[in-house]
Structure formats: structure tokens, C-alpha cells
Symmetry: D3
Subunit: 247 residues, 6 copies
């Protein structure tokens, strides 16, 4: 039986769903079946903390729904990993992952240090904090910003690719990066040509998330290793959630 995995696009529009699903399906393992959903309301991008806070409640609603719908795993498709820790806290059998955590752990193993290509400087403080929380501050060579917002990334693909190229080169030459992460799920679709050009791993965050999810599912199914319920991911008591109408 295949593993049903939900790709949760944590924004409130569906235009690119088919394209994204096709992208994911191209790289999935045979054992995986992917479904894509987006939020029913909320912002269209998550460049601001406020948008993430609003989206997080919707994300958690979708996570709870995914659990009821019997998914094996859910992927939160944004490099800010909005709601990731919370989703793990409240989920039961559902395994939850997100784009940044998946990407940085992979990048950390593939070379000495990695750089992250972001859209705008605004994103950097939060992402740097995130990488510190994942414990990988010593593996981070640099952030490099291309000066484009999330919604511009797929508009003029040539322009986006050229800006990414310039910062990849800066990351390699100036920051001694050995691995590059495209630090926004909306930079999907660029990695193959860039990887061909630069001959170093160029991580597509959405795909890194997919492969990491498949890996953690396999690990869980074979060995029982999954998120510890002691400490950080201790789950709230069902009764209390029910009493407060939170479930």
C-alpha cells in the first residue's frame, strides 16, 4: 500500500497546484502518492510574520483534517516552516515535515557549508533563527538575496534565474559555499539547469522536503523512530483541547 502524502501549500490560492503536483510527482518514489491542498482563506504569500501567524491557524486546521483523512504524512510547503513544531505537537500518527528543515539537514551532509538564496533581505533574520533552532548555525556559509518577492519568482523566469546565478557565484567565490539551497519553495523548477551549470548540489526546497518525508516515513514504519513525545513535542491533553473547543 502506498504512502499518502499531503503537500500543503500554506497560502490561499490554487493556481499553481497542478504544476506543483506535477513537479512533485516527477521526483517522488514509487511508494508515494501525493495530494495537494491549499488554504481556503488567508494570505497569498508568507513573507511577513503576520501572514504566517494567520496562516498557521489554517495550516493546523488542515493538518488535523489530514490526520482525519488518513494521510501518512503532510508537508508544509514554505521555507519559513510555518507551524511545523506546532503541527508535530498536535499530530498523532500523521508525520509532519517542512521545506527548510528538510533542506538544511540534507545540505549539511552534502558538503562543508551551504548558502541559502532568498528573495528579500527581510526573510533573513527569521531564517537564520530557524537554522539555529535546527542546530546548524556552523554549517551556514551565508544568505544571499536576489531582491524579488515570492510572487515575482515565477513571473519572469529568465530574470529570476539570472539573479539566482549571480548570487550562487557570490556564494561560491566569496562565502566558500559548497552546496546551495534555493530558500523558497517558489524557486521550484530552477535547480536542474543550475546544477548542470555549477556542478554542485542546488537544493530545490520542495523536493528536498518530499524526499525527507519519504525517508522519515520509511524510518518510522521500519523502526518506530518518530518525533519524541518527551519535551518539545509533548502533546496537549485531548480532554483539555476538547474543553476549550480546540479540536
Amino acid at each position: 500500500m502506498k504512502n499518502r502524502i499531503l503537500h500543503l501549500k500554506p497560502v490561499a490560492y490554487s493556481d499553481l497546484n497542478a504544476e506543483i503536483l506535477a513537479h512533485l510527482n516527477k521526483y517522488k518514489s514509487d511508494n508515494t502518492e501525493i495530494e495537494i491542498r491549499n488554504l481556503s482563506c488567508g494570505p497569498s504569500h508568507l513573507e511577513y510574520l503576520y501572514y504566517q501567524a494567520v496562516a498557521e491557524v489554517e495550516i493546523l486546521r488542515e493538518i488535523r483534517q489530514a490526520e482525519r483523512d488518513g494521510f501518512a504524512a503532510a508537508m508544509i510547503g514554505c521555507f519559513d516552516d510555518p507551524g511545523l513544531f506546532t503541527a508535530r505537537e498536535i499530530s498523532q500518527d500523521l508525520l509532519v515535515t517542512a521545506a527548510a528543515e528538510s533542506s538544511v539537514f540534507l545540505a549539511a551532509t552534502l558538503g562543508d557549508r551551504f548558502s541559502v538564496i532568498v528573495g528579500r533581505d527581510k526573510w533573513i533574520p527569521q531564517m537564520r533563527d530557524l537554522i539555529c533552532r535546527y542546530g546548524l548555525r556552523d554549517k551556514l556559509a551565508s544568505f544571499r538575496s536576489i531582491g524579488l518577492g515570492v510572487l515575482e519568482l515565477q513571473q519572469d523566469k529568465q530574470e529570476t534565474a539570472d539573479r539566482i546565478r549571480r548570487e550562487i557565484e557570490n556564494a561560491i567565490v566569496l562565502d566558500k559555499a559548497e552546496v546551495i539551497i534555493l530558500g523558497c519553495t517558489m524557486q521550484y523548477g530552477f535547480f536542474e539547469i543550475l546544477q548542470e551549470e555549477y556542478q554542485i548540489p542546488i537544493i530545490d526546497a520542495m523536493l528536498a522536503n518530499l524526499k525527507y518525508t519519504e525517508h522519515l516515513l520509511e524510518v518510522k514504519q521500519k523502526t518506530g523512530w518518530t518525533f519524541s513525545r518527551r519535551g518539545m513535542y509533548e502533546r496537549p491533553p485531548d480532554q483539555e483541547m476538547a474543553d476549550w473547543s480546540l479540536i
Copy 2:
């Protein structure tokens, strides 16, 4: 004219409001006028990430309301600082603070290293991350847990005080703490007697928050120094928030 400051109790009950307001009023400066509000719906404590996520949206609603109501500042009354960065991002003239940030910066200056007395081990990972985000990891001597949930802290005050005493002593002797933070706003009311006993600063997080808020208001009014709008606290565009019904 006095500074109107809102103490936002980020939980959905009002029982202790009068008692907390009296506690705050006892320590406020002459120039301050405090009002207390709580959430209209949501959880009664924030020990879980999920409860914080749900509360955050309500907190942000209250923050926006406080801005409209002409408050000079709003204090988020929880040591997890839920929604603090987000509230600063979306606020305009309203100055927003929270309990942990206020306490750790104060503790950092009063001695070499500080320990934080928490209710349960579950709280520690998040709070450690928070202290790292504030840049103060090197000033943290230890966390010490007393094994009580938030809602138990004010029930048997003798028991709570005795457990706090035991961990203060461990923090001083074993961890060489020179300053103690009572790491939950619901540990209010204990600091004076403990400070008398141990003769070192015992920080009441709610009061540290009050004094820090008054300080940042004074700074802002005299010098114009307030939260930078470049990077972390760049505000979302009004038009975008309006388009997405987020304002």
C-alpha cells in the same frame, strides 16, 4: 498626559484580572495608566505550542484593537512571548513588549548569569530558543523546573513557594546563578519574600515587563528610538493586508 499601557493577558479567562491589575499598579510609575484585557476566546494557559498558535491570532486582534484605542503600549503577559515579533511587525505607533524579553535583558545586566525557574520541563526547549533569539545564550546559567503547570502556580501558594525555593537554591549552588527569573507571569506575587530571603534579584516577569515597557516608551518619546523597520520588523503593505482582509 499619562502613558496608557495595556496589559494583555493572552488567555481566555478574567478571574484574576483585578488581582493582576492591582499587582501592576503597585509598581507602576506615576506617568503610567494601566488597563487589563484578556482574550475573548481561546485556551486558559499557553503551555503548548498549539495553544500559543491559537492565542496568537487573538493576541494580534487585541494588539490591533489596542492601536485603534490609542494605547501607547501593550504588554503580552506570558513568558513565551507569544506573538511578540509579529505584533511589533504589524503595529504602527503602538509599542509592544512581552514578559521574557523584558526579564532576560534586565537579568543580564544585574549579574553574571541568571537561572530561570519554570513550571515544567516541557517549557524549556522553547524558552531556550527564545533566549538564544534574544542573543543571551551565554548569560543563561540554567533552567530549573518545579513540576507544576501554569494553572497550579497560584493554587497552593505555600507549596509553590517551597518548590521555587528548592530550585533557587540549586540554581545558586550548582549553577552559580547570580540572578533568578521566575519564568512564568503566573509566578507573580512571590518575588518580594524570596528576594528578602536570598538577597539576590528575583525577577517577577510581569513587573519586569512593566518597567521595561515604561522605559522603551520614555526612550521612544525622547529620542525617537523604537523598533527598526528595516528587516525583521518591516511592516506588511497596508494595501496587501486590506486586499486579503487581514486588517
Copy 3:
């Protein structure tokens, strides 16, 4: 076609090979085919740097042989990861992994902080350095030593398990570990019962290595992401190796 993976036991005895192979086969994915080999000469354990240095040359010989024999991947079965970086440097299509790196990246994602149960204090400095090299120093709660050498770990299993239990409890209570790594491949076979007892992830390093290897193979095959050849893993020139009879 299945992925042929070599489990390289980096010591010079074969007694436990069948048992270890059975252990690995029990947890492998359908797509994996495992073969086990040991060194033809050298030490029987790697508790000393000297033994590791001697073994490393043999390990590299086996890695080169594995490449010629068409394996897709090779796992170095020791928690000191002897020769790992070097093996990656000289390998071409062969993907090389080892026990510690695989375990710590997995543990890092499953909870806030992990502890490593080692045999003897002697091992700690090297392993701490290793975890720092992998970038995960902030995720390490503690090392806990049970006072047994590698060759004693499988002798009196009851005694070994009891000593591990004592240190798991110390790690949980005193060091706030949320995940435990059994920090020697020769602690294989203990994790399931301990995991049942403590209800937190207890990582068997040999199995973590297997699952991580399968993951990196899948990633490489689907996306082309594999070890960067820029910097740390730049490969020596073939001609130079030939000139110096190193190939």
C-alpha cells in the same frame, strides 16, 4: 533493479557477520540488497585512534573495491565514522555513509536534544569533535558512558542493557534528552525493548545508517544531489594517484 549496499564492518573478524546481516535485512527497504564484508586484517575494535588509522587504509581499500564491484553505496559500520570523509573524497559513483553522521542527523530532527550512550569515557572527546564537525553541537544534551569496551557489549546482554537503562534515565532526567542514540554499532539489538520501555526514540546506529543510506541513494537517483565536489570532497586527480601508486 535493487540498490546493492555494502555494510562494511571495519574490523578484522567475521564472527558476527551473519547476525549483523540478519539484523540489517530485518529493517531494510524492499529496494535494498545488502552484503556484508569485514576487513581482512587489522584490529578487532576501533576504540583507539591508532586502530582507526590502521583500519582506515583497509577501509579505503574496501571502498575502492566496492566501487569496482558495482555497489551503489557503502556503509562504514562504526560510530567513529572512520574514513568517512576520505572515502567520500575518493569515491566516484559509490555513495558512502557511516553510523554517527546518520544517527545524529536523524536524532536532531526527532526532538530538541539528544544524548549519546557510549561504552567508555575515552570515546567522548573524539565523538564530541565529530558532532561539532557535523554542525550539531547545539543539539547534543550529553554523553553518558556505561563503562564497557566494544567487545564486551554483546557478551552479557542483560548487564549491557541494564547499564544502558541507567544512563538513559540519567540522560532523560538530568540532561533533558528527548532522543537517545546508542553510540556504538555494537549496541545493536537493544533498541526495540528500550524504546518500548522509555517511549522515546532510541536510535540503533547501524539501522540509522542503513535508512540514511537508502535515503541518500533515493535522493541521488531522483535529483542528482550528492556530495559536492567543490572544496571538502574535491577528488584527487586520477593521474596523480596513479603516479604515486595509490589507486
Copy 4:
């Protein structure tokens, strides 16, 4: 009754005293009364460790005098914070602060990371150490030097301002600073115009010190929280100081 605060100019000249006092008075709170004093002998700037060592003894003499004269607080007006820890150690009721500590704690809260504009490269190692001692190394984006000595800073104000502008821009663009500290009290008087131009907080160290001092006084008077006497600030025994003629 007003709080009498001493601004101690830790150098041996009085030329600018009236100007500095006027600057401070412009930003003080109503409850504050400021007096300014300088050293009676010693160097005219503190760019060298030697000058600081010589000045420190004079500073401590003035601190003891300030205590006898009934001041509530004393501010050491130099960004090297000369004698700060020592002054706190020997003072009794007098609350002692200094320019750097006050500035960095404020800057740390106002944005993700701050840069410090210094006069000469020579100052950087000591100031970096100081920021590490305050626990804020992770909040420091960079030091940027303008190539002017302390005594040149107020000579050609246009030139000084232009050099500061150039380094503020470098700090913002290259180092992603969100807050700027003018890292010498003798850079006073520049912040308002620069803040207007760059629209981010530009901290005047002398004023940050004033507001921080008022804050710590208010905190002490309302809650009793002041410097811990356990550990770092344990005071020498009076008898011993008397025996050795140190008091």
C-alpha cells in the same frame, strides 16, 4: 524628589562640559537632575588601554565621592565602559552604568542585529570583548571604522558626519544591520539628523546611557532589583579596604 545623576566624563578636561550637560538635559526625564564632572587629572581620551587603566583609578575615586555626595546614580561617559564592573563592585547605594552596556542592550531589542561605528580599528578588539561579556555576540552585525580619533570627532563635524554616513550605509547594505550604534560618546549630537536620513534607530551612546540609568533607578526604587551581590559584584570587606587604605 528628583534623582540626582552624575555624568562622569572620564577624561581630564572640562571644555565641553556645558555643551554635554545641555545635550543630556535636553533628553532627560522630568524626574532627573544631572550634574557633570570630569577627572581632575589623567588623559584627555581613552583610546589606549593604558589611558583607561590610569583613568580607572580616578573614575573609582569619583564614584566613591559621588556616593558620599548622595547621588542616586553615576554614568561613566565612555563607550569602553572603563571601570564599570569595578565601580559596581565597590558602590553601595549608588547605581553605576556606562555607555556601551546601555547602548548594546537597547540596540539588541530594537532590531535583529546592530553595527557599531567606531573611530579607529584599534578600538575594535576591546569592544568586541566587551559585547561578548555582555552576552550579545550573536546580535553584533559588524564594527565599522571611520578613521578618526576621539579628539577629532567634534572638530570638523561635516567630515565626521560624512564618514559616519558612509559606514552606516556599508553596515546596512553589506552587514544587514537594522540598528546603528555610534560607538563613542564623543559622537554625540549626530544621531537625530542621521536617524532622519536612514529611518532606522541611530543610537547616541551618551543618551542611551542616560535613559538606561533612569530605567535602572526606577526599577530599583520600585522593586528592589539591582546588581546582585553574589559572585561578580560581591563587595570587598570594609575592614579590609580600610586596613589597606583603599577607602
Copy 5:
């Protein structure tokens, strides 16, 4: 021609001078000639920052005198390294060293991590800062305090030795220290018997200082490598010091 080295006892009594000189002479190299001097006024121990500040001016006077007297080097005989950086800044040909720096660099090379046995908890914050300034925070296993002031250390030698023994054992067993530093020059005379007992290096800080001084002198004389005059140790201009009567 022999190297004349001054051992500067940075306290104002001479009782133990002969004993200390004999101790040093026992371990010096053939090429070394040691003279001992103490301060003419000031405190008798340096456990407080205030005593160090007062002593520092006297130390610098002695350093300048030593330079005029043609010494090759001067050793500051206290584990707080009072005035070390300043003395290097103002000295010309005189090479200045101190006890802590000498000890920690030596200990860092002799094993994985070292512990420092101090007299009282009060000393720890300053010494921890010092070790951080020397760049060796990652090599520090722990501080362990024996509860005796400086002037008590040589009074009841049996008692002192027994207390040191207890903390050496704690450092070895609990903190995994591989090397011990006796963190006060007044713990001289104990290392040989303890080293015999514990079979690990027990560093006598006064002797470590002597051997390090001889080493740096030899290095300077053979290669010209000595303290960089760029940055931290840039020397104040002679004319300025003369103008301000500081020389």
C-alpha cells in the same frame, strides 16, 4: 648572556618572596635569571576587581621600571592576569606575560579539556571571561571552587591539599577533565604530589608562566615574532604620554 626575567608579585607584601623565588629557580632553564619584586603599596590579594584596579596602576609602574632596568621579560604573578594587555600595550622591548594565559594555552594542548581549581566562587565570572578572551572557551571543562581565600591557601597546607583533591576528583569524574589547572599562583607548591597521585597534568600557574615566558623570549630572539603592534597592542604615542605626564 642570560635572560633577566622579573617575577612581579602584584601585591604589597614581601614575606613569601624568598620562598617563591626558590620555587621558580628550581624549575627555570639555565638561560634564565629571575628577580622578584612586589608592589610598594596596594592590597595584599586581588580577589576583588577594585583591588585589581588599584594594583594595575602599580603594576604598570613596575613594568615601566622593569623596562628601564633592562629586563628581558616580566611575569605578572596572578591568575587574574591583572594589567596584562595594558602592560603589553605600553611596553617596548620588555616582553610581558601572566599566569592565566600561560596556563590555559599549555593546558589546552595537553588534553581534550581542562578544569580550573579556584579558591572562591567569586573568582569564576572574571576568569571565565578571561578564558573566553583567550579564545579557549571550548576547552574549559569546568571551574571547581575549594572555598578558601587567597591568603588562606598557604596557611593549612594539608587542608588546602585535601580540598584541592576533592575538586580534582569531581573535575575528573563529573566534568571529564583531562588536565587540571591550579587557578591561583598562591596554590604553588602542590602540583608535584597531586600529579603523582592522579597521573594527569596538574598545572602550577606560576611555573607555567615561567616556562611560557622563556618560550616567548626564545621565539622573539630567534624569529622576531612578538606581540603585534597592529590593533589590540598598538602603543600610545610617546609625545601624548609625555604631554599628559603618563610616562
Copy 6:
């Protein structure tokens, strides 16, 4: 009686032995007698991990031979310090040192921060790890690469010197380095002229190694302080090594 020190050139050619020996003899102390040896087989440079692994076994063979031949110390003449920790582990009376450790500890004391001039970017990750293991990450200003392989460094000396000059200037101006290390033993012979030009310490790694070795020998002979046998350098049991034909 003089101390016999072996300079072990850890590569398999002897061409430069006489020149290197002359270089060392020029700077040695009177009490030292140097002999030079190279590996009988293996690579001619150690720029790759693989070459180091192959060489390490030969190095250890030479170390054991040096012990039998009665040397007091052996120096491993490569800035990657290949086999250093292992050689210390298995040696008995022989004291073993290497170029990088010797250089970085010396540089750390001579100024605030040091930069390392390397041949190629490839070297940096390993050397950065090494400096972290020595505990000195906070003292490292930067690596600067001149784009030449080891075997090219002595070919066109003018070209090599010019490239080093350019990076020394970058290190001083951009990275605020106060001390420079020439990070390859094959950069020998350049330091004096560069030191004359730049007036800051320019460390020749081979000579730093020599002086450090003489220092550690003197320390050991006078005080008995040498590498701790507890933990990292615990020696393998003789019987076990004999059983496994490793001795």
C-alpha cells in the same frame, strides 16, 4: 645533553631535506639537535584527505621508529597535522607535535585575531575544523587562499611571495587580522622579508613547530607536564597491539 628532535617530512621525497634542515638549524636553540626524515613511500603532498590517510600509517611507523631510536621529540611537518593525535596516543616517551597546532597557539597569544594564508580553497574546511578542535575558533579572523598547490609554492618564489602579499593585505584591511600564519610548511623561507614589510608577526609554520617542540620538551623535563593519558590520549594496551600485530 642535547635534545634530539626529528623533523618528519610526511611525504615521500627527499629533495628538499638538506634545505629544510638548514632552515630549521638556523632557528633552533643551542640545546637542540635536529634530524630530518621523510616517508619511504606514499604521496608527495597531502592536499587530499586520501593522501593524508595513506601517509598517516607511514607517519605512525616513523613515529614508532623515532621512539625506538631514542628521539626526545618528533615534529610532523605539515599544516594539516596528519596523525598528530594518533601519534600522541601511541607514543610513550616521545613527544609529538605538528605545524598547525604549534602555529595557532602562538598566533593566538601574539594579537587579537590571526588569518591563515593557504594554497587552495580545498584546504579550508579541514583546517577550520582543526582550529576548532584546538579550541581557537574565536581567534580566527579568516582564511585567505593564494591559488597555488603545495608543490608550486617553492617553484616561482617571486610569484608565491606576491600572491601572499596580496592576501596578507586583504587579511589586515578586510579581516582585521593582527597576526598572519603562512598555513603550509612549504611556505617556509618567506616570513622574514614579509615581516619586515608588514611589521606584524608572520608565522612560518615549520619554525613555530620547532620552537613549540623545544618549549614542550623543556616543560616536560622540568615539571613532568606532558600529554594527559586520561581520555583523548589514553594509550592502547601493549598486549592488544601485539596480539593484532600492530606494534
